[in-house]
């Protein structure tokens, strides 16, 4: 589903990603781990289509299509979703209005009939319940005055409602207490399906305890320095990133 080949990316002429290769198949959940500043968030933003990142070399294929040639909205319509570490605040626009516009944009793109207000309400109420948000959020401005945990649950809500094929979760667990981490992980587990893929980007191994990753990759200084199974996460938890740093340098 997602194929990244030799990806080199710079921000303001500073190289951040220095040759990334990654293949994520439908049905899989991959975790990308790494210390701060390793390039994890850059990778997520490049997949979502953030233009401040300059792709110097390499390519990203999504279902065989060149993702880098698509506008951010095209990527979303084609089924790429990103959960942001710092979601933007949209003052004055309530969550219901925003979500209805987004859900209907995607339905329209798929040739499905747009939902009216009544259908949408029952649809979104079911999704809200899955991430333990009550209906009062629908009337609140998107992310305006939301706590860190509320913002992250709101991201997962959007993932569940927009029904993407590929979800990239950027540090969705950071700053959350253990109950919120479980809610987020539970949302991801409900989302997983044969025809969907998930990439979880995280600094900590903690959230992975509640998930079942197929592969774990370690990103450091813009390179994937190791890939492995679930055990790699435990090893990192015990020994820290410096262990791998030394192992690579050796």
């Amino acid at each position: 589903m997602l194929e990244i080949k030799n990806l080199h990316v710079a921000v303001e002429d500073k190289p951040i990603l220095k040759g990334i290769d990654l293949v994520v198949n439908a049905g899989e959940l991959h975790a990308i781990m790494g210390p701060n500043g390793s390039g994890k968030s850059t990778l997520a933003h490049v997949i979502a289509g953030q233009k401040i990142y300059e792709v110097l070399d390499g390519e990203i294929l999504y279902n065989g299509k060149n993702l880098l040639e698509m506008d951010p909205e095209e990527r979303a319509l084609e089924g790429v979703f990103m959960s942001y570490q710092y979601p933007a605040v949209i003052p004055g626009v309530n969550l219901a209005y925003f979500m209805k516009a987004a859900v209907n944009a995607i339905r329209k793109h798929r040739g499905e009939p747009e939902m009216d207000a009544v259908d949408f309400l029952s649809f979104i109420k079911e999704k809200l319940a899955q991430v333990k948000m009550d209906e009062s959020y629908l009337k609140r401005a998107v992310n305006d005055g939301f706590s860190g945990g509320e913002k992250k649950r709101n991201e997962i809500l959007q993932m569940l409602a927009l029904d993407p094929s590929l979800a990239v979760l950027d540090e969705t667990d950071s700053g959350l207490d253990i109950d919120a981490v479980k809610i987020v992980a539970d949302g991801v587990n409900k989302f997983r399906r044969e025809d969907r893929a998930v990439v979880v980007i995280t600094h900590y191994q903690r959230i992975l305890q509640y998930m079942d990753p197929d592969k774990i990759h370690v990103l450091m200084d813009g390179r994937m320095i190791r890939s492995g199974g679930k055990n790699l996460a435990h090893e990192l938890e015990e020994k820290g990133y410096s262990w791998l740093e030394e192992a690579v340098a050796a």
């Binding site: 979502a48 289509g49 953030q50 506008d71 951010p72 909205e73 990527r75 979303a76 319509l77 990103m82 942001y84 979601p87 933007a88 605040v89 949209i90 003052p91 004055g92 626009v93 209005y97 925003f98 516009a101 987004a102 944009a105 995607i106 793109h109 401005a141 959007q158 927009l162």
Partner: protein, 423 residues
């Protein structure tokens, strides 16, 4: 000035007006000549150029300017409406709801000369003074206790089908009885390419414990100049909640003067300005807290496209004995173009010591982060921009407390947005 003098001389021998009223007019006109048209060297006109009304030879509207009415003023609003066309009241096309009494200003003047100003002092505002000299479609209205609580009435001033540039100096004096809660809508609308000048003055006196909701929509023709002043006198426990939606005319200037004169008085002024092309919109507001224990809020939002310009001058004054004041003043502006320009000047003038006053002003462009966020959820650029602009404007529109009028304001916003975003 010569041109105005001629216009005044045509107007002044108004046979049926009492001598004292003619003197009032003459005195005001003399005063106007002393002061003259505003100059940009004046602090309150620093960013606003009014030479368009000085140089153009507008003549006073006469009965001959009344066009075939047809469907003039017809629209989707079913609210009781009083219609004025090119400065002339159209009683046959108007609905006066129960509990609203309506008199010509002349009749009210004959009954009580003070009613024509109703406590308002135009100070050194040249256009308000000129309105006193030239006022031509004056009305005095009274919301009595029989007026249906929380129901609305609209005064619709339409300028249309002109063959020459005209001017009008409408004056509306509004009294609100104690304990009443009217919704009063004042709307200016125009079309056509012939330029015209509306110099409107609205004087409102709220009764004790009355709640007046005032919605003011300025949707004049693009060729128009709309200069206006609004005065609110708010006594004990009086409540004014005003929403101004301004999107018409080439030149818009609105002087607002609020006096909170009794304990428990509470005033909210909200404004939304939508400007494009080379439009210029200016609000000059004085919120005068002259009693203790009063509260006020000002929230003005400007959305400026193309090379349009805006001015916000807000001044909260707290008098020496006016303790326990709570006053907020906010001006937020959204620039949709690199060529748009906003001048914002919120000011506090505080002579009491036990008060809470805030003021703040922001001017910025559409947030790139917010835009990207919406696009990455599948919205195209135009829809995403429209959603963000709507969100910015909603804070003002949402507070209009009549559903029909709120929908109407939303429609105006939507169609304006379609015009500027090309959507």
């Amino acid at each position: 000035m010569k041109h105005l003098e001629k216009q005044f001389s045509i107007l002044s021998p108004v046979d049926h007006e009492p001598h004292s009223l003619q003197e009032l007019r003459q005195g005001a006109f003399n005063r106007f000549k002393e002061i003259g048209f505003p100059r940009q060297s004046w602090e309150v006109y620093r960013f606003t150029n009014t030479t368009v009304v000085e140089k153009n030879a507008f003549r006073l509207s006469t009965g001959a300017d009344l066009p075939e009415l047809g469907d003039v003023g017809k629209d989707s609003l079913s609210l009781p409406t009083l219609l004025f066309v090119n400065g002339h009241y159209q009683p046959n096309l108007s609905t006066v709801p129960a509990g609203l009494t309506l008199n010509t200003l002349l009749d009210s003047y004959n009954e009580d000369a003070k009613l024509v100003t109703n406590g308002y002092d135009a100070g050194a505002n040249p256009f308000a003074i000129l309105n006193t000299a030239m006022m031509n479609s004056g009305l005095h209205i009274h919301f009595s206790e029989e007026f249906d609580s929380a129901s609305a009435v609209r005064f619709l001033y339409v300028t249309t089908k002109l063959s020459e540039p005209i001017m009008n100096h409408p004056r509306l004096v509004v009294d609100v009885a104690e304990n009443t809660r009217p919704i009063f809508i004042e709307e200016y609308r125009g079309n056509g390419s012939v330029s015209y000048w509306n110099n409107a003055l609205t004087i409102m006196r709220a009764g004790n414990n009355s709640h007046l909701h005032h919605l003011r929509i300025q949707n004049e023709a693009p060729s128009a100049s709309h200069l206006s002043a609004t005065f609110y006198q708010v006594p004990a426990d009086g409540n004014i909640h005003a929403s101004y939606i301004s999107l018409g005319s080439a030149l818009h200037r609105h002087d607002v003067n609020v006096v909170l004169s009794g304990k428990g008085a509470d005033v909210t002024l909200n404004g939304l300005c939508l400007s494009k092309d080379a439009q210029h919109m200016d609000h000059n507001i004085i919120m005068d807290h002259s009693s203790e224990h009063v509260t006020s809020r000002m929230l003005f939002k400007y959305i400026l496209a193309d090379k349009s310009t805006g001015v916000f001058n807000g001044r909260a004054v707290v008098r020496q004995d006016a303790q326990k004041i709570d006053a907020d003043q906010t001006n937020n502006n959204l620039l949709l173009s690199d060529n748009a320009l906003m001048n914002s000047n919120p000011q506090l003038e505080i002579y009491a010591d036990d008060v809470r006053c805030t003021h703040g002003s922001t001017t910025g462009q559409i947030s790139e982060d917010a835009l990207f966020y919406l696009r990455s959820r599948g919205l195209d650029v135009l829809s995403a921009k429209a959603l963000l602009i709507n969100g910015f404007a909603n804070e003002v529109v949402d507070e209009i407390n009549n559903e029909e009028a709120k929908d109407y304001a939303r429609e105006l916003l939507e169609s304006w947005l379609n015009g500027v975003t090309g959507g």
